[in-house]
């Protein structure tokens, strides 16, 4: 038998866990945790993704070949996000060398035409 057939009971357990996590993330969003609001929301989303992926998408019973593709997808996403965010969030971390600012020419808007 090549494919594992998961029990319907398991699907219902996963379904109710997903609904509970949705309720949780929704209620927590109304409490002000400052910067941690997004961190908590993301952690809950990752848990939900894990549940959907493992059980609904059958990764729990997949071959290592399929898991490798999933890993590669997440890994490449991590490369894209790390490099892009690493660039944007460190732009003002180091002050610009003196000579650089002088060479930047800011284009001035054209003067409005005098009324005739």
């Amino acid at each position: 038998m090549s494919e594992h057939i998961a029990s319907q009971k398991l699907y219902f357990i996963v379904f109710f866990s997903l609904l509970c996590l949705t309720l949780l993330t929704w209620r927590i969003a109304y409490i002000d945790l400052g910067r941690w609001n997004m961190v908590v929301a993301l952690l809950i989303s990752i848990c939900k993704t894990g549940l959907v992926g493992m059980f609904f998408m059958h990764l729990r019973w997949s071959t290592s070949m399929v898991r490798l593709v999933v890993f590669a997808a997440i890994f490449w996403l991590a490369i894209m996000m790390t490099l892009t965010l690493g660039d944007f969030f460190t732009r003002n971390a180091v002050s610009h060398p003196q000579g650089w600012q002088a060479s930047i020419v800011v284009p001035q808007p054209a003067a409005p035409a005098p009324p005739r």
Binding site: S2, E3, I5, A6, Q8, Y11, F12, V14, F15, L18, L19, T22, L23, T25, W26, A29, Y30, I31, D32, L33, N37, M38, A41, L42, I44, S45, K48, T49, V52, G53, F55, F56, M57, H58, S62, T63, M65, V66, V69, V70, A72, A73, I74, W76, L77, M80, M81, T84, L85, F88, F89
Partner: protein, 225 residues
Amino acid sequence: MIASRRKYKLHNSQAVVAEQFDDRTQQHEASSLGMWIFLATEIMFFGAVLTAYTVYRNLFTSAFEAGSHLLNAKIGALNTAVLICSSLTMALAVHAAQTGRRKRLMAFLVSTMLLGGVFLFIKFFIEWTHDYKEGLAPGLHFTYAGPQAGHVAMFYCFYFILTGIHAIHMIVGEGVMAVLLFMAWRGRFSEQWYNPIEMMGLYWHFVDIIWIFLFPFLYLLGAHF
């Protein structure tokens, strides 16, 4: 393989195992692998927009929270629940296909399509219509005049693009599911061959996962004040 065609006495195009595969295991593995590689490209596609979103959310945090605050988090939560229900019925449809129960399969495909339809109805005719009337559609009708209006407009650009491409994915899924429903009605699937149903399931659950991330990013960001 000729042997397998003889074994199941099926027409060439309906053979359980296509000619290029040795057996069902290999065929199933190939289908899953292909589908997951497609989903990997989809992860990069949505990932690029979400990376851009993260950059701008960090640059204009207060404006993005103000924009998110105007969205109705209750409707967002309701839509999340609807989509999770449709994921359950899709998983049960795959289960019905695996156990070769045609009527159950058709019933669960129809319920998945209906739940998807409910989601799209809420999205287009309740949320988007409301946002447009409130003057929150950048480029079409944007009347928000609070502080940092330009940056709030940017939040709404992300909102419409992200929910829009998600909705397009759902519409495509509904179309493919209609074809699968027709095939199921014609009795094309059996416990020996149900790969298209399972691949449809992978796609549908993937679209669900995207929404699982969009919900906190768009709706819950500004709920706390």
